[in-house]
Subunit: 314 residues, 2 copies
């Protein structure tokens, strides 16, 4: 099928390349003329407007950041193809789409990225093996549209994870947004302590890596998911305060141990080892249960999908 | 000179190998007979007791964890050589040595490690380029002894950082102990949320890596440095609460930005680029100032040392 990709930065550009490599007919668009030229120079057909790219495309993928999304959604009023996006927060996108009445929309979020950005950094293998959340809202998402995208993205090598927008947002606050805030305050510690900076080794290097992200990006990501981020932040602050309390014990080195066990077990067991592939019905409840159990779709068949889930999963 | 290394785990074993490779006469000892056999099989002379190893050695390096240190310090009563250690907390060691009246002691802490442990994991290059804190207490540490160790460890490729025990403990709470606690609560988040675990990517992987450390090791490390850890933990909890407050703003994505700048700048500037080598007096105030400015000793001369410090350092 013909697919339009609007927004050709790291994610959109990589999606254009990956879909092309998977044998699909693609057309790109970017608001920046220089980016359009770069994509053309790389051999891709590029339209001069979103309307031109979408026209005649069965699917339009929006590879733009959250702040730009409302405008593109508005421009797509009347478009009868399928629309998806790649932004890192899904509840606000769901609300946006509801408000604007986009005909056929399935929100997505590939858990891929790297330190660099822009079309020049894009690569066709960026999504190989990466988890790609596809939002599935009971009574709202069209299952056929969902399966179309699941087939497309598993065909590019992604692990497609079914989840509601709310489930997605709660999960990413834990594994991405709050980790960014933690990394930031840890990194700031050395700003007035050069001795500490000189002693920083592995635990500091890894624990602070994402603190170097542009503050505007981290703030937009956390700001778009603020209620989940706040809830998780307060829960973790409570756990850290319990740890601090344990350090007041007569034997702090013993008292602290139980507070560290859950994290050690969880991290040692991560990433989960998948069990054997299993076929499950291509139905909303079965798919959402798969996502909640830590599993994902590896391919889409006729009325069923092939799924993997953690070996010791529940 | 002849050097005894007592305790032949990852750090002690690596120290034995590194000193041997640097051309020193070494003798090892470990309380565990199997470890003694392993070190002998690797070609090293190994004594059957601490006393036998120390006897005739000008320096005895204690490569044992904190809980075992008091016993070895007691056994070394009457030893007239120089003694050093490698434990990760220095205030309690200083107090221990004061209480037992060890003749000549300079505490040390190489900022090196890896996931594996034991003599089998030891390697001669473990300390190459690593920061090695050597404690320098004004009016207490013998400068000649300090310089002897600084010459020895810089000769093995380490960056020797002068600091008081208190300065060391405050710094490592920031760059190691608190990061371990943060990693632990971040990792524990996925223990009852398989979906979050399936979505975890780079920021989760790096931000939680050290959570997999054995809880007893992390607890002993933090417990031995509890006042510094608690102080820093409370300071960072305060910053996280400010971030949560910023997320309540009308435009949370803008309000959060200033809270992320310090961390982003600090992490982007880390590790510091050293300036040109400079010669400074081998004197306590000059050495401590070097450490406080984020610098380190690269070689020891006659009455002076060669030092590097961050290019933009203060």
């Amino acid at each position: 099928m013909r697919i339009a990709v609007a927004g050709l930065g790291l994610i959109g550009g990589s999606l254009l390349r990956a879909l092309d490599a998977a044998g699909h007919e693609v057309v790109g668009f970017d608001a920046d003329p220089a980016t359009r030229d770069a994509a053309r120079a790389a051999g891709f057909p590029v339209a001069e407007s979103l309307a031109e790219a979408a026209s005649g495309s069965e699917l339009t993928a929006l590879g733009v950041p959250m702040p730009v999304l409302p405008q593109l959604i508005t421009e797509l009023a009347g478009y009868d193809g399928l629309v998806t996006d790649v932004t890192s927060v899904k509840g606000p996108v769901r609300d946006l789409v509801r408000a604007h009445g986009v005909g056929r929309f399935v929100g997505g979020h590939p858990m891929a990225g790297k330190e660099t950005s822009g079309f020049a950094a894009s690569e066709k293998d960026l999504f190989d093996g990466c988890a790609w959340v596809l939002c599935l809202e009971p009574g709202e998402t069209d299952l056929g549209d969902w399966l179309t995208l699941a087939r497309l993205f598993t065909g590019m090598g992604a692990r497609v994870v079914p989840a509601t927008a709310d489930e997605h947002d709660a999960a990413v606050s834990k594994i991405s947004h709050v980790p960014h805030l933690f990394a930031s305050v840890l990194a700031a510690q050395i700003s007035d302590d050069p001795l500490a900076g000189a002693l920083g080794a592995g635990s500091f290097r890894d624990g602070t890596r994402v603190a170097a992200t542009r503050p505007e990006l981290t703030a937009a990501m956390c700001g778009g998911n603020r209620r989940s981020v706040q809830r998780e932040l307060h829960r973790l602050i409570g756990l850290l305060e319990e740890m601090s309390g344990a350090l007041d014990a007569d034997d702090p080195g013993t008292a602290l141990v139980p507070h560290l066990r859950l994290g050690a077990q969880a991290r040692q067991a991560w990433p989960a080892t998948p069990g054997e592939p299993a076929t499950i019905p291509a139905a909303v409840p079965a798919l959402l249960e798969l996502g909640r159990s830590g599993g994902w779709v590896t391919s889409v068949g006729d009325g069923e999908v092939v799924a993997l889930r953690p070996e010791s999963g529940r």
